[in-house]
Amino acid sequence: MTSRRAKQAKTGDLAIQTFNLTKTFNGLVAVDGIELNIKRGELFALLGPNGAGKTTTINILCCLLKPSQGTAHIMGYDILKQPFKVKEIIGVAPQETAISEHLNTQENMSLIGRIHGINAKELKSRSQQLLETMGLESRAKDQVRKFSGGMKRRLNIMMALIHNPGVLFLDEPTLGLDPQARRAIWEYITQLKRKKTILLTTHYMDEADFLADRIGIMDEGKIVALGTSQELKARMLEKNTMIVSARNLTQQVIDEMRSRYAEVSVSGETMLITDSRLGFRTIVDRLHSAGATVRSAHIKEPTLEDVFLHLTGKELRE
């Protein structure tokens, strides 16, 4: 049995494991006893607002920061005891587009590749493959300071992939990009699914929703919820919201509805009714009986934003 197989047998199918991972900065708790188990080939998203502790978590897992308590294993290697082993098998695309501005695309990739000890022939073939996949083939020899934000983000990911790492960390990979550029990056990340274990941080709910196999919602250093997008949203089905557009939403109508449902709010001709049980027909009939004229009504599908709001009492800020 090769040492790699032995290691895999030892760690099972887990690529990333954290054990009471904690980080404090001058008494301020940035990461608060996180326990994570991420499977090999899984794309796991840490979703949370700025300052939730996502980047600090990634920085600890990449051996950039030492945890104040606890530890983590990456492919079975302990981040505290074997940091250089960890660094050999991970690829990191930091939040800042950490590229060398006066080098060209090829040179940026080569630098990281050579540091990882990849020979020239292999380096050439891998960079060619990445250039094609990421759509930067025609810009291989261009200095990257002339690149757009989206192109720099793509190169950022290419530099993380050049040495073919088993585990990929993507810290806010689409931060500050326009929707079109974000969508392009999502497509590239989707192509990597199942081939790599990916830990991605984001504060965009749609990004986590679209890309991740599982999502950990993070707030104030803690994982407050964990599961697939559907699992997380299902928690919200306990309480649904109906959005009703109606005329004659008088105080009498509002009082009538408030006496029957948990939460009722009105803005102009729109009424939001939230309760654990919402019968479409019943609500419309009750509104009519109270004197309102209903023009349209629909049940609002829960989003990750709703999940976050529900769990933390806060909105997920951009």
């Binding site: 950039l64 250089f84 660094k87 990191v92 006066h102």
Partner: protein, 365 residues
């Protein structure tokens, strides 16, 4: 391999950044061209000086006729008494007058024979023209030192020192401007480190199997390469605009190289103490520009009060200027500049050690 890759990358970052490169090479070269245009050429300034020989010995007379009178920048007139010289100075006919005191010849003779000597000259000058008086002090100092050290015409000294009778302002300024260029290495060395730190590139490299030693060597070696190129360009530039190179060029090169190492070390310290380029740049310039002035890049530090000289000589640059002027202008050998040479080595070792310690600590945090 990693060191070489990092070194190559840092060199590319520098030579492909027109602003950094322009600052690094263009700024001092521009100064050279300006000073060259002003002070070089056939129009060597002619300063009228008076001499009162109170010693009146063959040696003091030889000093006047064989040394002072042969300096092309001087027009020497002898006086019988100080009153007449003072009158001419007051009237603006003289820029300065020198009194050769009684016993001068004896002291010079003692010096030649290796005995303890106290050779002094009294000089009264028109202080209204700082630059002229500065040049005069420098010229008289150089001529007197050259004369006092050489055994002429009786025997040939085993280690003769060249008498440079055509010291012009370019000769005087050349080493100062080169050292100024090397002072600019401080911000230049700090900039890439801080930039990589600020823009997250260093963090990215720290997620690779790169060791701290690889980083330090990678950054340092690229800066050493830039230093060597800079010294060559500046020496050639200074020579092209008319600086006479009298002494051992390799020794001067070594002095400049040690000075460059000191600047790289200071740059590394500043980069380690700064969190951003905005912090590092002012800190680096705040350190290098006053030091350029204090150390005598633009004018001799001999003119400064003793406490300022003490500050200047606590840093390597005044030593570098003294040593390189001695070598390039007066043809001094290693023995003559040994103190400055050892001071530079010591400073380079200490500042590099501090830089490496701080840099490593910085990387860990």
């Amino acid at each position: 391999m990693r060191v070489w890759e990092l070194c190559k990358r840092n060199l590319k970052e520098t030579y492909r950044d027109p602003l950094a490169l322009g600052f690094l090479l263009g700024f001092p070269l521009l100064f050279m061209l300006i000073f060259g245009a002003i002070f070089s050429g056939d129009e060597t300034p002619k300063f009228a000086i008076g001499v009162i020989d109170k010693d009146n010995t063959p040696l003091s007379q030889a000093f006047v006729t064989e040394a002072l009178a042969k300096v092309s920048a001087l027009k020497v007139t002898t006086y019988e008494d100080t009153a007449a010289a003072l009158k001419d100075l007051t009237f603006g006919d003289l820029k300065a007058y020198i009194i050769i005191p009684s016993g001068f010849g004896q002291q010079v003779s003692n010096n030649w024979q290796g005995e303890k000597a106290d050779i002094t000259l009294e000089m009264t000058y028109d202080e209204s023209d700082v630059m002229v008086s500065e040049q005069l002090i420098s010229i008289i100092n150089a001529v007197a030192r050259a004369f006092a050290r050489i055994e002429i015409p009786l025997t040939i000294d085993a280690n003769p020192i060249h008498i440079e009778t055509k010291i012009n302002y370019v000769d005087f300024m050349g080493p100062g401007i080169i050292v100024f260029g090397l002072l600019i290495l401080i911000p230049t060395s700090a900039r890439p480190i801080v930039r990589d730190k600020e823009k997250g590139f260093m963090s990215r490299l720290l997620t690779t199997p790169t060791r701290p030693t690889d980083f330090i060597l990678g950054y340092s070696l690229s800066m050493v390469g830039i230093t060597l190129a800079q010294i060559i360009i500046f020496i050639v530039g200074a020579w092209a605009i008319g600086m006479d190179i009298v002494g051992n060029l390799w020794l001067a090169f070594l002095i400049f190289f040690l000075t460059g190492l000191c600047s790289i070390g200071v740059g590394m310290v500043i980069a380690s103490l700064s969190k951003s380029e905005n912090q590092a740049e002012p800190m680096a310039w705040l350190f290098s520009m006053p030091l350029a002035t204090l150390s005598g890049c633009w004018f001799s530090s001999d003119m400064m009060p003793s406490y300022i000289r003490a500050i200047a000589y606590a840093f390597p640059y005044a030593h570098s200027i003294d040593a390189s002027r001695g070598i390039l202008i007066r043809g001094a050998g290693l023995e003559a500049v040994s103190y400055d040479f050892l001071f530079l080595i010591g400073w380079a070792v200490v500042i590099f050690a501090i830089g490496v310690i701080l840099f490593r600590r910085n990387m860990r945090s």
